[in-house]
Point group: C2
Chain length 299, copies 2
């Protein structure tokens, strides 16, 4: 089992969906990603929180063997408030307070620099780039992003895409980034920049994995009710790289399995607010749902 | 191999997509459905065209062994003009001239009444109901519909759904008909009305098959370019029931295979305007793409 470095945000989230509301709950891309990765491997967080960050959240992460040596503490914790409308497909932002994230200067613990598996979860692409540049010899680098960075830091994002092994993004972002309605064309454009694989997350419609010569389509899990989709993309990425770090097999066939594990953990995450569902999730449940994914697509 | 009755429209279509335009081309739900079904079984059309309907179109259908004894000729052929915008997901109607379809009175040839497999392709639900009532002992009835009938003839549609074995509809229609964003809930509502199975067509995202206890997710085929999606839903339905009539096996496992054959033929249809791609399609191409569908979802 290999370790994983996860850079991203650790945040307070206030979220409203048609199914309820939660205030100042634990959130952030690095939180969801590392928590999900912890079912498979040993994540190491690189991020920042404020002095107001509750000890119980720290304990929650430590209990999952998540290393927090790279978690700085300063000022106030990054805060995001958003809501989902009826269709639950896209988060609408009500308020963003960057707080300590605004002055976040990377301080990479020496123990992190030799880590083989790197997940650049959603955060400013310049921080993602800087992180990558400090790694000694990363074996496998996965990056995620979001529409905000596609609009505001397109150049840095494009530079970064050229240096990673796998680009993760959702269908709307893929269409936006490569100016095409066709996901197949978007994926080909992405692959032409350098990554060995591109994964397009499609929410309830599943996920697509593209490599130069192959195409894999993972089904969506038939959840009757989605309570809160926040963090599902981060969970997907965390479980994806977590499974690869655990198995240390980067074949296309194993990446397919990793995509399904990513889908499994993301589907659980949508069942409740914040990390509430992940907190009670067991490896047995993950394996059972993985088997269900097999049955769903069998013909 | 069993015969199939197909009731639906035979039409002239004028269609504009971002990839071109075609004028007064052969179209209609019964046309696409029976043409697709003809790869697997012997379709019998119940419909009406005008005196202006070209002999070459009749010949085209006859060459595929499609029985036209139930094709009436009177007045002018039903005409539809529509266009697709950039996202190609939904046809926008520019003009509809019902013409002879407005006075269409069912005249069912006696030879049709004993047919076992019935496809009620998209047409006025009252005509679908009347057709069904004239069948002696249909073994398997599949129905399709469209948003227009959900709005204008909801009551007839609901009555009909109670009498069929399989309800086919696309994701937007499922959400509209059962007033829910959740496709799982929509499918459960549909099943509670009587059908043994519900199939939700999701275009590029594939198709879902729901029965009381099972769920099947067929992947979408990664077409780089969709030239004209007109008729894809009809092709899906035609190939679906065609394969079932051919194999005469109504198990859930075989329905899954039929869903994939439906997806295969629909994906070919989107590659060109009108029936242009279907005209050159071979059973060998269908079987090869069926195998591709297996590879796409393997993990």
């Amino acid at each position: 089992m290999d370790k994983i470095l996860v850079i991203g945000t650790v945040a307070f989230d206030t979220i409203q969906t048609p199914f309820g509301k939660i205030e100042k709950a634990l959130g952030g891309s690095a939180t969801y990603a590392s928590y999900s990765a912890s079912f498979f491997s040993k994540p190491n967080i690189l991020s920042i929180v404020g002095n107001d960050f509750p000890k119980e959240y720290i304990e929650l992460l430590k209990k999952r063997q998540i290393n927090l040596d790279g978690l700085q503490v300063s000022g106030k914790t990054f805060f995001w408030e958003g809501f989902y409308e009826f269709d639950m497909n896209e988060a609408k932002t009500k308020k963003t307070e960057l707080n300590s994230l605004a002055d976040f200067k990377l301080k990479m613990p020496d123990s992190y620099k030799n880590i083989n598996y790197v997940f650049l979860a959603n955060i400013d692409p310049e921080l993602q780039l800087e992180t990558l540049n400090q790694m000694k010899k990363p074996k496998f680098v996965v990056m995620d992003t979001m529409n905000f960075w596609i609009t505001s830091k397109r150049k840095s994002l494009m530079d970064l895409i050229k240096k990673v092994d796998v680009l993760l993004l959702n269908d709307g972002e893929a269409r936006q980034l490569f100016s095409t309605i066709s996901l197949v064309k978007a994926a080909k454009s992405a692959l032409s920049l350098g990554p060995k694989a591109v994964i397009i997350k499609k929410g309830e419609h599943g996920a697509l994995l593209f490599t130069k010569d192959t195409h894999f389509s993972a089904p969506g899990y038939p959840l009757e009710e989605i309570k809160d989709p926040t963090g599902c993309g981060d969970c997907f990425g965390g479980a994806f790289i977590g499974y690869l770090a655990k198995t240390n097999d980067l074949s296309e066939a194993n990446m397919r399995r990793a995509v399904v594990y990513g889908s499994v953990v993301a589907s659980f995450n949508a069942e409740d607010f914040s990390l509430n569902r992940l907190k009670t999730l067991t490896m047995g449940e993950i394996e059972r749902r993985y088997e269900e994914f097999k049955e769903i697509r069998e013909f």
